[in-house]
């Protein structure tokens, strides 16, 4: 069995299942309410496939009014709700609850408004990330955040996870590219945040919603910023004899005032796995391989290629190629983009971790990770968004061997603790979900976590939306709201006063 425990299901809710089905069918007619076990099976897990749980009921609403009424019903009747987009979460964010309704937003799949003068697109949350780019690319535009699951993942899920991607060093994360939202609270109230204008006054609840992992509200409409595609892009493929050399090269590129469109690093095990799989022409005799992509106007790209080439040589690059054609650039990327399936080829299973570290700590972290690999008796391969310090260690294991999943999870937890220890964070782009929930206390104090949960209370004081995710301990809102204050003398005689 797996290690992460979900809250015990409420038997009294499960006992009311038939009644709940009936009530939901009155709101969402036709086939929008699924309660047959076989038909619910596809919803039992997301991208974190080690965890599975059949939901109580699946609901697929088609209108904002239906979403509002479903949520209001669940609120009034104390039924938990797990929102779900495309179900590609790597942290278990959409893992169902046995006593909870699974609310799938995938029927919200329309592009509502394309507004080129304002560089804004309004879509429903079930539209895929790539679907936005597809809708505007004939005019030369695109939507910048590009998580590797972009062909499948939904923009609503991107909001929930604040998704990143290879290009976010230069173009920002989801939070930097979203202009507005329409959302429904668990009470059924519909709220609009932002729009095609910038920087609404008032608390930045748009910023709070982005990355809130489905705990605060259900997104029903999204307005994003689109950008004109860069005129051109070229890449350098650079190999180094040590990861220290590679790390220094990355620091020197940034130090020279160059912000590449993408800057990715792989360690030796990842290089070999990728090369064996797609034959991208990666050198096998290097410890670190860096792909630096420069995009923008042609004159700028050509100039910066020369600058980066010089920096690479100064940092003892033992292998250096510069793409001379679009085809060659794609070949450089082919290995990196296939890194996950390539690792999947050499191991029956793997866990993909997602910590972020200060860039300068990379050599230390890689060395410590090798020690951890020996300690846990499992192999690890690393791909790294070098520009922003986001590390994706892939832990290789075999779920059929007793104890290996547990060992892999323990190894992963050690890696994330290491990330926090060197000044980094538990998750850069995959979210906390259930996967990193129990590690939150390694990064945050009790007061830190309580203040975050109080924000949850402002949105959902009954803890009905996606409970069991993100926070290791669920405190009741009444308890969180208590204030222990004692009147008396000024307790700070030493603070200067005037």
């Amino acid at each position: 069995m797996t290690a992460i425990a979900m809250p015990a299901p409420d038997g009294s809710v499960i006992a009311r299942r038939a009644e709940i089905v009936k009530a939901l069918q009155a709101i969402v007619p036709g086939e929008g309410v699924i309660h047959d076990e076989t038909e619910m099976r596809p919803y039992e897990t997301d991208g974190l496939t080690a965890y599975r749980q059949l939901p109580l009921i699946v609901v697929l609403p088609e209108t904002v009014d239906q979403v509002s009424r479903v949520l209001r019903y669940c609120h009034d009747n104390d039924v938990k709700v797990v929102p779900r987009g495309a179900g590609t979460s790597l942290s278990g964010g959409a893992l169902p609850l046995a006593d909870g309704v699974l609310l799938s937003m995938m029927k919200f799949n329309r592009v509502l408004d394309i507004d080129y003068p304002n560089r804004a697109v309004v879509v429903q949350p079930g539209v895929t990330n790539l679907g936005i780019t597809r809708a505007v690319e004939h005019e030369g535009f695109y939507y910048a955040p590009d998580p590797s699951s972009q062909i499948a993942c939904s923009i609503g899920g991107n909001i929930a996870e604040n998704s990143g991607g290879v290009h976010c060093l230069k173009y920002g994360l989801t939070t930097n590219n979203v202009l507005g939202l329409e959302m429904v609270l668990i009470t059924g109230e519909v709220i609009r945040l932002g729009g095609k204008h910038l920087d609404s006054e008032g608390y930045d609840l748009l910023g709070v919603m982005t990355g809130s992992e489905g705990l605060l509200g259900v997104v029903t409409e999204v307005t994003v910023r689109i950008l004109q595609k860069p005129e051109t892009a070229r890449a350098l493929l650079i190999g180094f004899p040590t990861s220290e050399d590679g790390g220094r090269c990355v620091a020197d590129i940034i130090g020279a005032g160059i912000i590449p469109g993408g800057m990715e690093m792989m360690d030796k095990p990842a290089i070999h796995a990728a090369e064996d799989f797609v034959h991208a022409g990666y050198p096998r005799d290097v410890e670190a391989l860096l792909i630096v992509e420069l995009d923008g106007p042609e004159a700028e790209v050509d100039y910066l290629i020369g600058r980066v080439e010089a920096i690479a040589k100064d940092n003892k690059a033992s292998h250096l190629r510069i793409s001379e054609s679009e085809e060659e650039r794609m070949t450089f990327w082919a290995g990196r983009k296939a890194a996950f399936p390539a690792v999947g080829r050499i191991s029956p299973d793997y866990l993909c971790m997602d910590g972020t570290i200060p860039r300068k700590e990379l050599p230390t972290v890689l060395a410590r990770m090798r020690e951890l690999s020996d300690k846990h008796g499992l192999r690890v391969a690393n791909v790294f968004h070098a520009g922003d310090g986001n590390l994706h260690p892939l832990i290789l294991y075999d779920a059929n061997k007793p104890g290996e999943l547990d060992a892999a999870e323990a190894f992963g937890a050690d890696i994330l603790r290491l990330c926090v220890e060197v000044g980094g964070v538990l998750t850069g782009e995959h979210g906390v979900g259930i996967e990193k929930r129990d590690l939150m206390t390694d990064m945050f104090s009790e007061d830190d976590l309580k203040q975050q949960q109080r924000v949850k209370c402002a949105f959902d004081d009954k803890h009905l939306l996606n409970p069991g995710k993100v926070f290791p301990v669920l405190h009741r809102c009444a308890e969180l709201g208590k204030m222990h204050v004692h009147k008396g003398q000024l307790p700070f005689p030493d603070i200067p006063r005037f």
């Binding site: 204008h197 920087d199 940034i254 912000i259 300068k360 980094g424 104090s445 924000v455 004692h486």
Partner: protein
Amino acid sequence: MDATLKPRDTRETCEAVKWAAAEYTPLEIIGQGSKRALGRPVQAAHVLDLSDLNGVEVYEPAELVLTVKAGTPIKDVEALVAESGQELSFEPMDYGPLLGEAPGRGTVGGILAANLSGPRRIKAGAARDHILGMEAVSGRGEIFNSGGRVVKNVTGYDLPRALCSSWGTLAVATTVTLKVNPKPETSASFLLAGLSDEDAVKAMCAAMGSSAEVSAAAHLPAGIEGGESRTLLRLEGFATSVDYRFDTLKKLLAPFGSPERIANDASAATWARIRDVQPFAGGRTPVWRISVSPASGAQLVSQLRDKLDLEAFYDWSGGLIWLNCLDGEVHDVPIRAAVADCGGGHATLVRADAPVRASVPVFQPQPDALAALARRVKEQFDPHGILNPGRMASNV
């Protein structure tokens, strides 16, 4: 007792807030007090002065990250990062000149509390896009940390972002971590003269939608700092690239006229004047800051010109309008009606006497459900309502 409390560190800040919470005694939170003439006036018996929370904790240019105490003067921070060829790319604006105060004042905490961003907002993001982490004291008198010191971080709610533009009503920031960026090697402006507001907005939106990577786009109509209207597009980066993109724009915007090129220093001075609303400095008439979708900017101003005696200019490609009510009246009702009519947005009264700011909603009023949610958020951070009460609205 009416006192100014001047804590020297986070612990003392926490003690002061704890005491105020126990006494149900409101505090006015200030850094250098440079924004007291902005927003609704606060009614508080005591002032919590954070100007002694001053100093850089960590600055790592190679990591593009800076951690400073919240009361650190913004000009010190800008000078420090400039030494390493870096800058705060959201281009924090300075309200001093507009509000009739000395320029160059204000702290990092104040800039963030008000989410003050300049012309580069449309390319580089707002102040709140540059905050990575924060240590703060809630109105409950509890110290909490959120965010981190790295750019890519989705661990927990993004509270640092929420605290930006909260005007000190949720928590007292004590330490903030910011993202810094390399300063562009060179900068130049593409100037078109004589365009109407409508054509200017069209030209700016076309430029923003091109691959020229325009980092600022403003339009000064005739009469604002000169007899002829001026439309300015800023290009920044490596010199070869700036030249190349200047030519790209020239071809793209040929139908709007032939441009003049303003070189580095003159360009920087012009953008600083636009950023700090210098065209309206020195007066006392009410000034509004209006944020709408860029393409609707000219339409909004034209609608209002028919009814009001005003002058206005545009930043953010037409999406940010600085509007000066020349007759001395506030005109909040017609202005907000026009904003709603032009697709929605926000109108903020940034210059007016204190009694006016106490009676007219300074910030855009929110729909009921959103206002109620914001109030619940406030209560969760500051249950006794002791932090800057009334700063944003009469009950927040």
